[in-house]
Symmetry: C2
Subunit: 149 residues, 2 copies
Amino acid sequence: MAQRPPEVLASRLGYLLKHAQIRLGEAVAAALAPYGIDARELAVLSLLSAEYPLSQLEAAGKLNVDRTTMVALIDGLEDKGLVERRRSNQDRRKNIVELTETGKERLRKADAARREVDRLFLAPLGLEGAEQLVSALQVLVIGDWESAP
Amino acid sequence: MAQRPPEVLASRLGYLLKHAQIRLGEAVAAALAPYGIDARELAVLSLLSAEYPLSQLEAAGKLNVDRTTMVALIDGLEDKGLVERRRSNQDRRKNIVELTETGKERLRKADAARREVDRLFLAPLGLEGAEQLVSALQVLVIGDWESAP
DNA sequence: TATTGTTATACTCTATAACTATA
DNA sequence: TATAGTTATAGAGTATAACAATA
């Protein structure tokens, strides 16, 4: 297990963000394990479910992963029976990726588990504090895009 | 450059923490480049400056890096003339790592640059919002240790 | 010619195992 | 026997380059 954070580092934004992410990541990984997927695969399923239809390259762009990485990601999800590739009729170079029925069901359950992890993770802040934290992070991460659409 | 975040992901804590870290990390890397060190090397210098004396293994433990990784890290800092190894007299297996005068000076300037990046990064939140965010992250990351000393 | 998906390859980062010296 | 530092090696993860199919 990790040691108590050194005081010099404990006030640095980078350190705090990194370790918050590490701890949340461990909790999410544990919560998702029973569903046989990891956090990134869940993100792929969520994206494909929300924005249809997406080709592999379009999904890769939105998730900020390389297209070669996306091939392996979709391979994995397809092996698990959660998504299917089909050729686009509009552009036969593109693979439209869609969730199977199994994939939709898995997404529903796994995402509920993830939301519960988020809730427990933020619990020490109280309801209001948790909402403030999420809002602040949204300003920092998404705020830029408001002005550059 | 990255695309605007997909709406399904923009409310997820993991996504927000990850991307906040990515953006801050890019800004910090750019700000530190003139000083010839990266964020982790700065963390090593800060730690060695704050807690003296530390052996390589002790420093590795506090920074949560493998001892073999620490060897390479110290090698790099030593090549740059920022730290020096010396055998501990109490236990000749241990390398005490200490900052050189150049290292102290570099730390001072580079850490000022890092603090300025943090300040600018948090500026959209206002002073109070920035303080609230840091406090909330400290509760999430450090809070646990209060009860387990 | 350019783009999409794919494969093979190379690269980066970190961890594991084995060795030396010290305890 | 165990620990600290080191080195060499292996592994995971990702990116780069080249290729086939399609536009």
